[in-house]
Symmetry: C2
Subunit: 235 residues, 2 copies
């Protein structure tokens, strides 16, 4: 039974550091959590295992995996046949204004739209998403003005938008945090980062490549946070 | 080869009257059309056949069918186990302020989000959607204020939203038309409505029930338009 008086939130959970921390923040704010992950034909399906372990460890009430057909859309190294770029130094990704080839067109919009549908059906008053405008890798759909516009649209999109019963909020607790600050916050909330996976190109055993954009951000984040990095890197 | 200088649009195509007419309008405005339909576990999968026939007949350049996992979300008679309501008179649906049980939570938001992804990858400058605020069956995501909010969000969501290269438009050519006016417009543009399917609950041969909300709107529309209705109804 779902009662509308209980404080519930949808949390978008990818299996990485940011969304795990976001789930911990939602729990710390007293929300019952419906975690949702997306199987979108990403090369790194291992991240769905990481999401499931994290959802369990952080006591989400439910964890739903939704299949999203992004391969038919194409246009990204994460879902297509392009190579994942590798780097020797983190500066290589930080001194570029380009949007990287790992950008998946409209991904956050599609994910948040499913989140919106779940929020409506399960009477949730918030959707949490772990975007950050600091280390956001140049993705357009990680900016605050985008999130604000999505929230406004979402408030008009549903039954609640007609009846004015619920003002759905899109919550971005990490938006102003660096990767180091995110990790510090997560550690303080009991997140076990050994369960998470950031790598765009892990080996079949789940070991991280150590050299993709996402691995570089992860490594730098643990160094910044002065927290031991539990990740097993190939190099 | 896709050239950005060519005028292209995504058209959301369901297989019914409104989206077929919308496709015809897009073509009449000089757009090359990428039609997209959604397989969302709807009971009336026959509408996807209708969409394919309509796309071919109206010379869309491509027709993509995307599988959308709405069953995991639930909350609607169209995707779940609820009964499709039947009526004896069209007044039954017109004198109600309630949002009907056939409403699918956040459906247009999810569909437009996929449309947005396709528009970005294929360099389209518009997404056409056949919503109408006149006979809109009480769905919140068929209102103009919702569409405007989605457009604003969409313009911030993509690479183009960062580079300011393309101002994506959400086009709703039917929004102020009644069903009768839509059919008159479609007939003038050469739409073959015999290829379309409106019924929420057709029999296995594709014959329309004649008594669901959607059949009632269709029947009334042909009567209003003073156009012979090519539909085969069971009753």
């Amino acid at each position: 039974m779902i009662h509308q008086s209980e404080k519930k939130a949808v949390v978008l959970l990818s299996g990485g550091i940011d969304s795990a921390t976001t789930l911990a923040v939602a729990k710390s704010q007293g929300y019952r959590v419906l975690a949702v992950s997306f199987n979108y034909g990403q090369r790194h399906l291992l991240e769905l295992d990481a999401a499931a372990k994290t959802a369990r460890d952080l006591e989400a009430e439910n964890h739903i995996v939704i299949h999203v057909d992004l391969k038919k859309i194409g246009g990204s190294a994460l879902t297509g046949s392009m190579d994942i770029p590798k780097h020797d130094r983190v500066d290589d990704i930080e001194n570029s204004d380009d949007i990287p080839v790992t950008y998946v067109p409209a991904r956050n919009t599609i994910f948040l739209s499913y989140g919106l549908a779940l929020a409506e059906v399960h009477c949730c008053e918030a959707i949490f998403i772990g975007v950050t405008a600091v280390d956001y890798s140049g993705y357009p759909d990680c900016r605050m003005e985008y999130i604000t516009a999505f929230e406004k649209m979402a408030q008009l999109a549903t039954r609640a938008g007609v009846s004015d019963k619920i003002h759905l909020k899109i919550k971005t607790p990490l938006i102003h945090l660096s990767k180091g600050e995110i990790i510090q916050k997560g550690v303080s909330l009991g997140v076990n980062y050994a369960l998470t996976l950031s790598c765009y190109d892990p080996d079949p055993k789940g070991r991280s490549c150590g050299r993709c954009d996402s691995c570089l951000h992860r490594r730098k984040g643990f160094a910044q946070a002065k927290v031991a990095d539990p990740t097993i890197y190939i190099e």
